[in-house]
């Protein structure tokens, strides 16, 4: 009986590992195909032609801001310099306790304007709405409201906006000037399927040079924690998301950079403010909504890096972030558990959602249990250490190969980290990841699940920003 149990447990872990490996291998094949196809398709729609076109869909950029006083002016200026003929910028000051609003009012010559109290989405009370008295800042609207969280702030912006499309971003992100021109491409080309969400790749700009809100020189982060996240983002965005979008299985568009049709956002009730994983929840909700309506749809992903953000540079903030992501994942999967193996939702119910449950949600648990098991086996002195070490080495090398493949795909198609020295540093960072960031991430994820199991209240948390490196004028 004991031997049977022992074998079952061991084969479970082996089987899970092999299944995960096969999934990642499939991702690589799909991602490569998707990148090639995307590169071919994008060569047929020149962004310069979009720039000069009329009849383009109008876009509202909504940037919630909470205590961003240190960088808010630079970030808003960056968002105002985006090259797109029909867009508005709505900065939602979500009850900041610092001087964010005062700085905005002074810098952009804002004055209060009367506003329509008609709300298509529920949100916390708006105190005031501001517009600039200067012509050059006419695109800017600042909404000052009572604190309600990020999702609530976005809903306020969505409700206020009057455009075809909504771009949800963060006030501390640097968006490439031609980002909207590229993000709007899928909407211009949609035919038989409606594009309900479009995401772009997010890059890490820690220690890079930013001038007037524009990324002037991309550098690798100095901190190892942030450097490893560069590779992690490459894997997640270039491999993972491209692969999923190839089979219309993308279930997550990053909250920091996602473009949606306003009509559909209103129909699904906007973002859910009861979860900290509102971006994942929104994407799943939109997909489920379209499935319920029996309307063909697509969730698209643009593999180019169009948005730059500051990643956590130390383990304290990194842990908070991953803890929040895992709680968001828990809340979202629980809320949408009706999808699991539900044939009504076709591939989403039978394949994509189960994948998220089994691997995205399950992997930290399986890994944690695996570590516990190794410790127990070691205490019981039933570990074949030769085999165990070789297995560990094999698993480690597989991880290194996947990271190297991500870097290879990135180098082959994009020139952000083209210098040999940068590539070398990224490779090294990815090879130490399993011993550093990965262990901390595992701890943070299990911590997040622990909090959910035992009902320990925890919110979005505060990410302390160092701010980008700015070039002196």
């Amino acid at each position: 009986m004991g031997t049977v149990l022992y074998n079952i447990i061991n084969y479970f872990f082996l089987g899970y590992g092999i299944l995960l490996f096969l999934c990642y291998f499939t991702f690589i094949i799909l991602a490569r195909k998707a990148i090639k196809e995307n590169n071919k398709k994008s060569s047929f729609i020149d962004i310069d032609e979009i720039r000069g076109a009329v009849d383009l869909p109008s876009v509202s950029l909504i940037a919630p801001a909470f205590n961003e006083g240190k960088t808010i002016i630079m970030n808003v200026k960056s968002l105002l310099s985006i090259q797109y003929p029909y867009y508005d910028l709505i900065v939602v000051n979500d009850g900041s306790a610092d001087d964010s609003l005062e700085k905005l009012i002074k810098e952009f010559s804002l004055k209060e304007i009367p506003y329509d109290a008609y709300e298509e989405l529920h949100h916390a009370k708006i105190r005031n709405v501001y517009k600039s008295t200067k012509q050059k800042f006419q695109r800017l609207t600042v909404i000052d409201k009572v604190n309600g969280g990020r999702a609530d702030a976005l809903n306020t912006g969505i409700s206020y906006a009057d455009t075809n499309l909504i771009l949800c971003t963060d006030a501390d992100c640097i968006i490439e000037q031609d980002a909207l021109l590229k993000m709007v491409r899928p909407y211009l080309e949609e035919l038989d399927k409606e594009v309900i969400a479009c995401g772009g790749s997010i890059g890490i700009a820690n220690d890079s040079i930013i001038k007037n809100g524009v990324l002037k020189e991309l550098r690798l982060p100095k901190s190892l924690v942030a450097k490893i996240q560069v590779v992690e983002y490459m894997r997640a965005f270039l491999l993972g998301r491209m692969a999923w979008s190839q089979i219309n299985g993308l279930m997550l568009v990053s909250g920091a950079f996602g473009l949606y049709p306003r009509k559909r956002l209103i129909e699904v009730g906007g973002l859910d403010h009861t979860t900290v994983g509102e971006d994942l929840e929104l994407c799943i909700k939109l997909r489920a909504h379209m499935e319920n309506q029996k309307l063909p749809y697509d969730v698209v992903y643009i593999p180019e890096t169009l948005c730059w953000t500051e990643a956590p540079a130390d383990y304290k903030i990194y842990t908070k972030q991953r803890d929040r992501w895992s709680r968001g994942l828990w809340e979202t999967l629980k809320k949408h558990r009706y999808l699991l193996f539900n044939p009504k939702y076709k591939s989403m119910g039978m394949l994509f959602f189960p994948y998220w449950c089994l691997f995205e949600f399950g992997a930290p648990i399986v890994e944690f249990l695996g570590i516990i098991l190794i410790i127990i086996y070691a205490l019981l002195d039933i570990v074949n250490w030769d085999v165990a070490l070789l297995l560990f080495l094999a698993a480690y090398l597989v991880g290194c190969i996947f990271s190297t493949l991500s870097i290879l795909l990135f180098t082959a198609h994009y020139n952000h980290y083209a210098k040999p020295k940068m590539i070398f540093k990224l490779l090294l960072a990815s090879y130490v990841e399993p011993f550093t960031n990965h262990l901390v991430m595992l701890y943070a994820e299990i911590l997040g699940y622990y909090k959910k199991i035992f009902g320990i209240k925890s919110s979005w948390g505060t990410m302390t920003r160092k701010g980008f490196t700015t070039e002196n004028k």
């Binding site: 020149d46 949609e190 035919l191 030769d386 297995l391 190297t404």
Partner: protein, 292 residues
């Protein structure tokens, strides 16, 4: 046995990892060389344009090199992309003269062959070459691809037909049954404006009988873009359409339009039937703009 197997697996994985390092290095070097090659070709083309005006003898060497380069598939696409880039800096008649100087029978034969390819990407690029370099000789080959199975090819063919035939090409829209994207519509209208700014309404009127809803949408946008006030009624009438698609298109197009008196009167009569508050507001503003 297990140990031996694991050791072999590890060796294979290590070999794979080291191979990937070499591939990364090769890709980095290849990308750099590719960029340098592109710069070289661009420089030759710029030199050719410059020499063509003040040192024709020197231009001949560049011309010969460019002609040979354009007789190969990759070279043709690359040169076409550079010419497209340079269009922003070189005036129309000068640009036409230099593209005609470097296009020769070999290039046309190559494009004709590419139009018959099984690969959609090759076909689409060949179609773009046809209209960017105004290869009128290949118009029949382009038209035969109107119903190609790939939507990107179909799009480029539509644009090519507009560029090469102008308003006359609207005759073909009547029988077109496939959907066309918003971007395709935008490009068609832009190309008509760029190449054929004088409207030939007889072809427009024939096209207005098309059943395809996307063609109808395109024509409504055309009417607005070219400010064909005699045809504004087609847009206003769509407000009564049973199709929400057409209602929304009509409202979108009527926004910021200045309507003539008779159309403004029609719109005023239709306004009470507009249930959607946002649409109502937009149309009210249009009426206010039209009365000023």
């Amino acid at each position: 046995m297990t140990l031996h197997l694991l050791q072999n697996i590890i060796l294979v994985l290590l070999g794979l990892l080291i191979s990937l390092w070499f591939i990364i290095a090769i890709i980095a070097i290849f990308n750099k060389l590719k960029l340098q090659q592109k710069q070289r070709v661009k420089q030759r083309l710029i030199d050719f344009i410059a020499y063509n005006y003040n040192q024709p003898t020197k231009a001949k060497y560049k011309q010969h090199w460019l002609q040979e380069y354009m007789s190969k598939a990759k070279g043709l696409q690359h040169t076409r992309e550079i010419i497209d880039e340079l269009k922003g800096f070189v005036q129309d008649n000068e640009q036409t003269s230099f593209t005609q100087l470097i296009i020769q029978n070999k290039t046309i034969d190559l494009v004709k062959k590419q139009l018959k390819s099984n690969n959609w990407y090759t076909v689409a690029n060949a179609v773009i070459t046809c209209y960017e370099l105004e290869l009128h000789a290949l118009i029949d080959d382009v038209i035969s691809l109107r119903n190609h199975k790939n939507k990107l090819v179909r799009r480029e063919v539509q644009i090519a037909i507009i560029v090469l035939l102008g308003w006359k090409s609207l005759k073909l829209f009547r029988s077109y049954t496939l959907p066309i994207s918003l971007w395709q519509q935008i490009r068609i209208i832009e190309k008509l404006q760029e190449y054929y700014p004088e409207v030939e309404t007889k072809f427009l009127e024939k096209a207005l009988t098309a059943k395809n809803i996307y063609i109808q949408e395109l024509l409504l946008r055309l009417i607005r873009k070219f400010e064909l006030t005699d045809y504004y009624s087609f847009i206003v009438e769509k407000l009564d359409s049973h199709s929400i698609f057409f209602q929304e298109i009509a409202v979108e197009l009527l926004e910021d339009m200045v309507l003539p008196e008779n159309e403004a009167r029609k719109l005023t009569q239709k306004l009470p039937n507009i249930q959607n508050a946002k649409h109502h507001k937009i149309l009210l503003e249009t009426l206010q703009n039209s009365s000023e």
